[in-house]
Amino acid sequence: MDLEQLYQQHSRQVLATLIRLTGEFELAEECLQEAFAAALAQWPSEGTPGNPVAWLVRTGHHKAIDHIRRQQTARRHSELLTPEVEGPSDQGTAIYQDDLLRLIFTCCHPALGREAQLALTLREVCGLTTEQVARALLQKPATLAQRIVRAKRKVREARIPYEVPDQRELPTRLPPVLQVIYLMFNEGYSATEGARVVDVSLAAEAIRLGAMMSRLLPRPEVYGLLALLLLHDARWAAREDGEGNLVTLEEQDRSLWDQGQIEQGRHWLMQALAHPDPGPYTLQAAIAASHADAKDPASTDWAEIAALYGLLYQKWPTPVVALNRAVAIAMRDGPAHGLALLDQLAADKVLQSYHLFHAARADLYRRCGDRDRARLAYQQALTLVRQEPERRFLQRRLEELSSS
């Protein structure tokens, strides 16, 4: 295996273990680089070791001990002076896999802000450079670097432990991890405009992380999240036309949907649904799967989708879920029913400033044939929309209304 490939596949594992052994992010990162540099120098002449990951961990650990000795703080870190001789063996991989989980749970610790969690996860768990993370999140590299430095300092100073939460803590500690992965996916899925130079796909990173979590921490809601990401991502090629215009689900060319990925999504959804009491990600994945089952928009099972949104609303009573539920009911029972439900939601402050609420009303008015109200609602949506492709889409709808 060449070294670059090895770095891509195992550097996060080696880093995660080095953080546990050294107790420090910065030192572990430095030693990770040095271990790979040593491999680059030695392996071509001496041959690749039987267990390269174990070799890298051992070498990195020795480098760390050297560093600490040089800093003459060896007394405070005396436990480091008994180097771990064992590397990850085939039997003993569990503890090393736990190191990756330790790293994820530390980066997504709820005492860190959401933005810090996301930046730290992309940097440490996904192994992106600070510049790559900054570009992907459309931020200045200096701002992002500062955020990462600050987050690491908090981990150190506040003593956030490097551990996998126990069964008792897991119900409160897993959701932030899943939220970070979900947020990462959405950033990647929506941040296309003005981000043409992006050389990494956050959506792909999120799927990779979701797959890793499914392997390391097999839980129904982890499967549900992975299913959701795969099913959404499968529609990637169809959601924009050649000119970068947004194409609605209804108008998408379904032959462009990635059937292989839909199959994978369904597989994970089935795993998730094998357990009682599905969580919010699993329910959203079920909705996405229901759309994927429909050969064309007319054969969409809106009764099933409306029922799923109903369940989702019980779990997650947010205004946006209520909006989606109303739209599904409108598709099942007719636009007038949907409009009645949306009128009930109109007092909600969040929805009042949410462009998709007004866009949904506009669409239902359009379907009812009430062009004046539809026009007003589209105009309202246009004053609130921020993303360029969505703005163009709303503008197009408004123009179609006037010309027809």
Binding site: H109, P110, A111, L112, G113, A116, R150, R153, K154, E157, A158, R159, I160, P161, E163, E169, T172
Partner: protein, 123 residues
């Protein structure tokens, strides 16, 4: 009567200090503690890590909510303090979640900062 003396300053003032000035300030603090102890007035005290190491905890409807930083509502006033001994932040947060006013206001959890050893020549 017992009194709490709460220490406030702008961290930027400290960050702008030279290492020597910061060192001197710490030594002065040690001297102050010594004097108060001699006079029988010193009960307990602790320096804190910078505010960016803070985590704010609230309990609402029996659920623990955490946020990064010291962002107490400005209309909230300091009502007391607990000095806790915990293994790590997780344990500290878990202990703090049982402080009853966590349900009403917020609890800022901040690690203490150990003062450096006293300079030899000052003895």
């Amino acid at each position: 009567m017992k009194y709490v003396a709460l220490v406030y300053y702008q961290e930027s003032t400290i960050n702008d200090m030279t290492e020597q000035a910061w060192h001197d300030l710490n030594q002065e603090c040690l001297g102050c503690v010594e004097k108060l102890t001699e006079g029988g007035h010193y009960l307990a005290g602790q320096a804190l890590q910078p505010v960016e190491s803070a985590t704010t905890l609230r309990v609402r409807d029996g659920e623990v909510q955490l946020s990064d930083g010291p962002f107490a509502e400005t209309r909230e006033q300091l009502a007391g303090f607990y000095l806790l001994d915990a293994r790590d932040l997780n344990e500290a947060l878990q202990l703090a979640s049982h402080i009853p006013p966590a349900r009403l206001g917020s609890i800022e959890v901040r690690p203490v900062r150990e003062l450096p050893p006293k300079d030899e020549e000052n003895r």
